[in-house]
Amino acid sequence: MDNTRFKSDATFFDRLSSLNFGLVALVSLLAGVGFVALYSAAGGDFSPWAMRQMMRFGLGFFVMLFIALIDVRYWFRLAWPIYILGFGLLVIVEIMGQVGMGAQRWINLGFMNLQPSELMKIGVVMVLARHFHNASLQDMRHVRFLLSGAAMVLAPVALVLLQPDLGTALMTVMAGAAMFFLAGAPVWIFLGGFAIIGAAIPVIWHLMHDYQKQRVMTFLDPESDPLGAGYHIMQSKIALGSGGVEGKGFLQGSQSHLNFLPEKQTDFIFTLWAEEWGLFGGLFLLILFGMVFGYGLWIGLRSRHNFGRLLAMGLTVNFSLYVFVNIAMVMGLIPVVGAPLPLVSYGGTAMLAAMIGFGLIMSCSVYRDSKVTRV
């Protein structure tokens, strides 16, 4: 076998036909839910959100297919360059980032605001997949091997924390931990990790910004301060609850349309959706997400090489973390952390990051038989 060249056994059209059309359909359906919700959020208008979101999705769709049709071995090679690019962008954001929402998170590219931490998460999953690609179970017990992997996660996390964006930092750590778990790291590491986190909570509390503390406090008892910091959670719960089983109907979500609901086009898009479409609509969306998770894991399981398995599953876990954090937040189960609902919320970077992620997952599927070597 040729070790240095990637060999393609099939034509472009064979590759195209081997795409996971089920996953493509699911992703498009989720984005479609987003269009409907954004159309409603604007009071029954394509502007300002729905139309732009559709254009972004269209662009992202081709990016996704493009990535999917590139041999997974290229992605194996590009893992480190992408990681380093993301890391560099994070540094740039830290140095000259613009002030937004009290935290520095964006790079203005002129046509869009790029949030490097979103791309960085993909980079972290990619380098970890590469790092663990050839590891045996014995390797997974070597402390040095594990520590070098941990450093790949914690270096960008430290930068994200500096922004400061606790939510993204935590999610990156959790995605990384899931990668360790999947790669076969000993269970005692996770048990020890939980113990350390439990002990660290008082320290973290001390280090948190006031607005972060406030979010946690109002999360614990949102109704104590309905006009202050607890307002968002309270209004979101009112919107969800008042939707009932059948919902208020398309364009009829009074909480959203009368602006009682904050950030209805971004972080609280699930609330808007479930207010108008009720329990049926809400469960429909949850089931769609569940199917996407299942699809992602299944692609991972079917991959013949470890890189593909870890990459597909890691990206799926990363995607699902966003979904869980966002929906749990709008339902008042966890504090407001400011995470969008991927594919559905209005936002360029998040959409792009999700589409890149699904492109990579599909690449793992299309090229599941590729022979990935350690270079």
Partner: protein, 626 residues
């Protein structure tokens, strides 16, 4: 190291197992989210639905329009007139101060006023209109209208304010409205009363029928956004306007009466239907301008009204209590006739005074009337004749007849400040002063002096019962409206003999139309308009013997001590329909002052002939009630 990597079987199994753990965790978390969603939307759905509606729905009260008050012919007595105000919506102005400054120049408002407007605007949301000025004249409205294109955010709004077209003429009758007082709010703290600018009836019919005139407020539910701005109207139950009250009063006659009374310093009069009891006119003079009250009265005007000796704020026709004087003689006469102590043939000699024990009681005519019967005694108003009857009757028999004729009691009349007057009895005096009744007190009571007191309204009722064949008619004011009317009441009999009443009528006829009668000078000569009646002059201060000897004349006394002039009358003479009572406070003589006044009123009443004529009010026929 192998270039083609196939993980050993054990490694693969670990990954697969852990993938299932991850998948299971994801499934479990999705179930938690689904469960939470179901809990919020199903178990808590109703609670959050209520909270959501509380968020979005604002309820506005729609203020009902106050009912109009009209006379028997539909002539408006109290209406809601358009009142122009100028408003500013702060968010629609380019610069709030510029806009206000422009309006300030146009309307000549002072700086303090503008400061107040700015202060008020600061307290509410930017889209809430704020009133700059109200009660604008047409000229001011025109000035603003012309400049509107240059006044962004400024608008003219039409409100309603209560006005009384007949002004002073109906002031005591209709009353006026005013701002809701704290006492009213304490009694009934309804949302309607708390509306800015809401007014309630303060006096007269405006107060008596306040509830009916108010109507019922409507309600409007509007959807508001998070800023409180109205987004759309959800539901509206319109306000129900107050009842339109149609009075028995004839506005033209009322105005005539008020003007005629105005020629005296302080007077009151009642004109009513002898059979139905409906009031055609009820006036007290001087009066006040109720329009000033409904639009807010200056303290100076109020002080002046309160301090005035003529009591312009008191409705003397129902609250003024006067000794009825000789107008009471019919009561004494009827009591004696019914008791059989007098007959048409009973005659008595009047030497100009009457001796009882050691006391001497004077007749007004010191030379005496000579031999008089009951008819002459009434027409010439001989006091001595009644002194004699009184000593035989005693006070209780007189009082009983006075009560039957409607004196000494309240009628539950539709105007609140009605007074009961006073008809003394033995029991009353014992209770009041702990003293026994003295015969001399019956003697002076027989000519309507002493403790006796009656209101002009009571004297009119008394006269009505005398000339309507003895029906216990009561006065009333409301012909129609969403309130109880006494239009269809059948009045019970007062159980007196018709021939006795006819005798009294002859006496009252002669008093005006016989050349010996006390009111002969004030008779109506025009055929078909003649009237009958009885003069009265009641003492405010007992005339001392010394004064009598020295010949002190009434007009030399200070105004407050002069006699009241009274008259009760009826018309037409052969078929009485209208009765009238007149009291001129400290006016002097009944024949010289009160009788000519009553003549004018009865003349005008007969000319207008309001009885049985109304503006389409079914069943208001009147006479059938008798």
């Amino acid at each position: 190291m192998s270039d083609f990597v196939t993980k050993d079987a054990k490694d693969g199994r670990v990954l697969t197992r852990r993938a299932f753990v991850i998948g299971g965790l994801q499934g479990a978390l999705l179930c938690v989210l689904g469960g939470r969603l179901a809990w919020l939307q199903v178990s808590q759905g109703e609670r959050y639905k209520t909270l959501s509606d509380k968020n979005r729905i604002d309820s506005n009260l729609l203020v009902p329009e106050r009912g109009e008050i009209v006379d028997r012919f539909g002539v408006p007595l109290a209406v809601n007139q358009q009142n122009f105000r100028v408003l500013v919506v702060p968010e629609q102005t380019k610069d709030m101060r510029d806009s206000l400054g422009a309006v300030q120049d146009l309307l000549n408002l002072d700086e303090a006023h503008i400061a107040k407007v700015l202060e008020q605007a600061g307290r509410t949301a930017k889209f809430v209109p704020v009133e700059i000025a109200d009660d604008l004249t047409w000229k001011d409205v025109a000035k603003i209208e012309v400049n509107l294109p240059d006044l962004p955010g400024i608008s003219i709004d039409v409100g309603k304010s209560r006005t009384y077209p007949f002004s002073e003429s109906t002031a005591h009758l209709v009353g006026y409205v005013g701002a809701v007082s704290q006492a009213e709010l304490n009694r009934n703290n309804s949302e309607l009363l708390r509306q800015p600018g809401f007014k309630t009836g303060k006096t007269g019919l405006e107060r008596t029928y306040d509830k009916a005139l108010r109507g019922a407020p409507g309600n409007e539910q509007v959807e508001v956004n998070v800023m409180g701005r109205e987004v759309r109207r959800l539901e509206q139950s319109p306000a129900r306007s107050g009842a339109r009250l149609a009075l028995s009063v004839d506005a033209e006659l009322q105005r005539f009466t008020q003007e005629r009374l105005g020629r005296e310093r302080s007077a009151s009069a009642v004109i009513m239907d002898a059979y139905s009891g409906e009031i055609y006119a009820l006036s007290s003079s001087p009066a006040f301008d109720p329009n000033q009250f409904s639009s807010g009265l200056s303290a100076a005007v109020w002080e002046e009204l309160l301090a005035s000796e003529e009591h312009p704020l008191t409705n003397k026709a129902i609250a003024g209590q006067y000794p009825p004087g000789s107008t009471f003689k019919m009561v004494t006469a009827l009591a004696a006739l019914e008791a059989g102590l007098a007959t048409p043939k009973t005659v008595s000699h009047c030497p100009g005074h009457y001796e009882y024990g050691t006391d001497l009681f004077h007749c007004w005519k010191s030379s005496g009337h000579g031999w008089v019967d009951v008819v002459a005694a009434l027409s010439e108003s001989c006091d001595t004749y009644f002194y004699e009857l009184a000593t035989e009757l005693g006070i209780d028999a007189i009082a009983e007849m006075a009560h039957r004729l409607g004196l000494g009691q309240e009628y539950n009349f539709e105007l609140g400040e009605e007074r009961a007057g006073l008809v003394p009895t033995r029991k009353w005096k014992m209770g009041r002063f702990g003293q026994k009744w003295r015969a001399g007190e019956s003697i002076i009571a027989s000519i309507g002096q002493g403790y006796l007191q009656a209101t002009p309204l009571q004297m009119a009722v008394m006269t009505a019962r005398l000339v309507n064949g003895g029906r216990a008619v009561l006065p009333w004011l409301v012909l129609d409206g969403n309130v109880k009317s006494m239009r269809t009441v059948k009045w019970p009999s007062i159980q007196v003999k018709k021939k006795n009443l006819d005798l009294l009528k002859r006496g009252m006829d002669d008093a005006v139309n016989h050349e010996e009668g006390t009111a002969y000078e004030a008779r109506i000569k025009e055929k078909g308009f003649e009237y009958g009646g009885k003069t009265g002059t009641s003492q405010v201060k007992r005339i001392t013997m010394a004064q009598r000897r020295s010949g002190v004349l009434n007009k030399d006394l200070p105004w407050k001590l002069r006699h009241h002039a009274l008259f009760v009358g009826y018309a037409p003479i052969h078929d009485p329909r209208y009765v009238c009572s007149v009291v001129v406070e400290h006016g002097g003589g009944g024949s010289s002052i009160a009788a000519p006044l009553a003549r004018d009123l009865l003349m005008q009443t007969q000319r207008r002939a309001p009885a049985g004529r109304t503006a389409g009010i079914a069943g208001a026929k009147g006479r059938d009630n008798g």
